[in-house]
């Protein structure tokens, strides 16, 4: 399923729609170049879960946890990781199989560790500076979010 996101607001709307579909154990894999809206989408998803705390880029910390919403949010960033082995050492399985929603930015770098039922969201630059192309795979009712 592929769609054009015309601006940042539509990226946020997608994040909110994913939040509405999220259940305990949901894993959302975000793939896309720098600046395509991965953190923007995650911020909206957190807001949709009712998390009041400010969600910031996890690049430096690699993992950030947010409580206080309908479900806890575990926000990973594989950008600085050397590969799947590093992710494994961080104890990712406890998060994936836990009671919350896990978002993995730069998920393509740790692809082999993602569970089979992960929702894969690929973001790419569109024609204009504001546009993004999104392609989604995974749980079919999540694709309905598009």
């Amino acid at each position: 399923m592929e769609r054009l996101l015309r601006n940042e607001n539509e990226t946020e709307a997608l994040g909110l729609a994913l939040a509405a579909k999220a259940r305990p154990g949901t894993v959302i894999a975000l793939i896309g170049d720098l600046g395509t809206g991965k953190t923007t989408l995650t911020k909206a998803l957190a807001a949709g879960l009712g998390i009041a705390e400010r969600v910031t880029s996890p690049t430096f910390a690699i993992i950030k946890e947010y409580a206080g919403g309908r479900l806890p949010l575990y926000h990973f960033d594989a950008y600085r990781l050397g590969g799947a082995e590093e992710m494994y050492a961080l104890g990712f399985e406890e998060y994936f199989c836990g009671d919350g929603v896990t978002v993995v930015e730069w998920a393509n770098l740790v692809e082999e560790l993602l569970p089979e039922d992960a929702i894969v969201v690929e973001l790419a630059y569109g024609q204009s500076a504001d546009e993004r192309l999104v392609r989604m795979k995974g749980a079919c009712d999540a694709s309905a979010a598009l």
């Binding site: 880029s57 430096f60 690699i62 946890e65």
Partner: protein, 338 residues
């Protein structure tokens, strides 16, 4: 204790530097040893947590021994152990913390856990004997961009912080997009030397009029959009111009927000802290702006801006003086709040 002075042995392992230092009475660094892992991590374009922990473990004891030797003291002279407790990579923090606890237990000396960002701010006390609170601090690093009001040696209030990317992270990512090496700050600084800072008009995210928050995600995306557009049009990109224009947009916002915060809170002293505070253009621009506004600016030398243990020793000294020691069950907190 030596000649009536309190001696602190401090350790810092929150990210990719293994560091130890000895402080005399909190403000004098008798030694400041930093063993960097940057070469190890450069191949990956960033810090790799497992490698970081392993490197810390291999180096920490030797680095601490060296700090004592450089200071001309032995373990028996140490009165206080200071260590970074967070925020940072948990595996990396734990190495410093475990080592510090072992020293404290073996020597029977008190231990104090320190907040990494408070330590960055405390770095300014080392080279400026007359500096005392209250003052305003701008903390800019790879993981943080905070404006902090310091009203006492242990009284910190966050006035503003980044809503998305930290300033240092924006430098790292822009550098990667431009094909420049890690860490991005010095690489962009070098590349921008002969560049025209007005060549590309990147957006300045000043946010709402009364906000002291930052946002650097937009300028990062701006650089990527610009590079995409130029490539699609088949035009050659002048890396020096893009680097200079990008740096200027980040620096302008950091300076403008610092001045705004000083005005809103009636502060007359400004302290720069964190790795990005070593950036040559930021230092020059902040100098000029503070002079024009009659603000007194304190900038630690670059070696005290980037991660080091001397700053941890200073923070530990002031915390111990007012709040006493921590227990030995002291834990690491990757997301420790300020």
């Amino acid at each position: 204790m030596k000649d009536g002075h309190l001696l602190t042995l401090a350790m810092e392992t929150s990210c990719d530097e293994t560091a130890a230092a000895v402080l005399r009475d909190g403000r004098t660094a008798l030694s400041n040893v930093v063993s960097s892992q940057i070469d190890v991590h450069r191949a990956f374009g960033g810090v790799v947590p497992e490698i970081a922990s392993r490197c810390h473990l291999e180096r920490i004891n030797a680095v601490a021994d060296r700090a004592l030797a450089d200071a001309g003291i032995g373990f028996g002279d140490v009165d206080l152990i200071g260590v970074t407790q967070g925020p940072g990579l948990v595996g990396a923090l734990l190495i410093g913390l475990a080592t510090a606890k072992a020293y404290a237990l073996a020597l029977g000396k008190p231990i104090v856990g320190v907040h990494h960002i408070k330590a960055h701010i405390c770095a300014a006390y080392i080279e400026h004997a007359s500096l005392a609170p209250p003052f305003l601090a701008l903390v800019v690093s790879g993981g943080h961009t905070d404006l902090v009001r310091v009203s006492g040696y242990n009284a910190y209030t966050v006035l503003g912080r980044t809503r998305d990317d930290a300033a240092g992270e924006a430098f790292d990512k822009a550098a990667r997009a431009l094909g420049l090496p890690y860490p991005g700050g010095p690489a962009i600084d070098d590349a921008a030397q002969n560049g025209d800072a007005r060549a590309v008009a990147f957006k300045r995210a000043l946010l709402e009029k009364d906000s002291l928050d930052f946002s650097f995600s937009g300028v990062k995306t701006g650089v990527l959009n610009y590079l995409n557009t130029e490539r699609q049009a088949g035009r050659a990109v002048k890396v020096a111009d893009v680097a200079a224009s990008f740096r200027e947009s980040v620096v302008e916002v950091l300076v403008a927000k610092t001045l705004r915060a000083a005005e809103m809170h009636g502060e007359t002293q400004v302290v720069m802290a964190g790795g990005v505070a070593a950036n040559s253009r930021l230092r020059a621009a902040m100098d000029e702006a503070c002079r024009a506004k009659g603000l007194r600016l304190y900038r630690p030398s670059p070696a005290l801006c980037t991660d080091n243990a001397a700053m941890v020793g200073t923070a530990a000294y002031f915390k111990y003086a007012e709040e006493g020691a921590d227990d030995l069950d002291l834990d690491a907190f990757p997301n420790l709040p300020l």
